[in-house]
């Protein structure tokens, strides 16, 4: 059975088809959320929340986008909502702690904690998100706007400003 058939069955209320879809996309979703949050434990919580939301909303899914895109749209919105509700101080403390964990894992695997990763981790989440969606996952501006529920122009400016900020940090001598 291919994904399209499973999606159709899941929309019609087939629990087994939905379970298979969720299982197949679990790792993809987890990896996406790790990159978005840069915090593995937070990513795990968000994966759980996203799956529950997917179960709840599956009947509203119209199949016009890929199941993975639909899932990361839900995950992205849950993450943005969560970040808006949290206080800046609390966010900063949690992020610092999580980053130390990520840094430790990278060193354990002999991967350098590069300036690029450091700069990315310091970038505001609302700028990191569109950069990731645009350049890593290859979504178009209008799709990112839909995912983040913001105007297309805001997506463009956040990507531009995010890259400018990263460039300033990584290449201090580069021209504006």
């Amino acid at each position: 059975m291919d994904e399209q058939q499973r999606m159709n069955l899941a929309i019609r209320g087939d629990d087994q088809a939905l379970a298979q879809l969720l299982q197949e996309h679990y790792t993809f979703l987890m990896k996406y959320l790790i990159k978005v949050t840069m915090n593995p434990s937070l990513a795990e919580d968000l994966v759980q929340e996203t799956m529950l939301k997917c179960i709840e909303k599956i009947s509203y899914y119209n199949g016009s986008s890929k199941f993975s895109s639909w899932m990361i749209t839900i995950a992205t919105r849950l993450y943005i909502d969560m970040m808006r509700k949290r206080k800046v101080e609390q966010r900063w403390q949690e992020q610092e702690q999580a980053l130390r964990g990520v840094q430790w894992h990278m060193q354990q695997h002999q991967e350098a904690w590069t300036d690029a990763i450091d700069a990315l981790s310091r970038l505001r989440y609302d700028m990191r998100l569109p950069i990731l969606l645009k350049h890593y996952y290859g979504y178009a501006y209008d799709e990112i706007a839909e995912m983040m529920d913001i105007p297309q122009g805001t997506v463009k400016s956040r990507i531009y400003n995010g890259l400018q900020q990263l460039r300033k940090e990584l290449m201090p001598n580069a021209k504006e």
Binding site: K35, E56, E111, H135, G138, L163
Partner: protein
């Protein structure tokens, strides 16, 4: 089929989208960032996907919880509607003036609420966000 590079089986480093206005300097930066994202993908441990049976159980439980919540919401809606309609009917039968005042006050409160939320949204520079 979308053109993105997010296929689940994708193994190679995703290349950033090549847009004509991206300068070489920016492209280098983007490549560097994408490499970092991929390093994170490979290195950071994550839990394995749960079994299908476990997920099916989760789905059954969640659907049951949603059904229960919907039923409760419907019950609350009917109760509130009953109180409102009953109260208004009682007001009409006892005093038209009180009924008029109540209706006017409700209308003004609704307008005030709408205006207040519009101002709040404008201040934040926010847009509606799906829950």
């Amino acid at each position: 089929m979308r053109k993105n590079k997010s296929d689940l089986n994708q193994q190679s480093l995703p290349k950033s989208s090549s847009e004509p206005h991206v300068s070489q300097e920016d492209q280098e930066l983007i490549d560097q960032l994408m490499l970092s994202f991929q390093q994170m993908d490979q290195v950071i441990p994550h839990s394995t996907a749960p079994h299908v049976g476990h997920l099916e159980q989760l789905i059954t439980e969640q659907k049951l919880a949603v059904r229960r919540r919907n039923r409760l919401e419907l019950l609350c809606f009917f109760l509130v509607a009953l109180v409102l309609i009953g109260g208004n009917t009682l007001l009409i039968t006892t005093s038209w003036t009180a009924f008029g005042i109540f209706q006017g006050a409700t209308f003004m409160a609704a307008l005030g609420f709408l205006f207040g939320s519009y101002i709040r949204r404008k201040k934040k520079g926010d847009v509606r966000h799906a829950k």
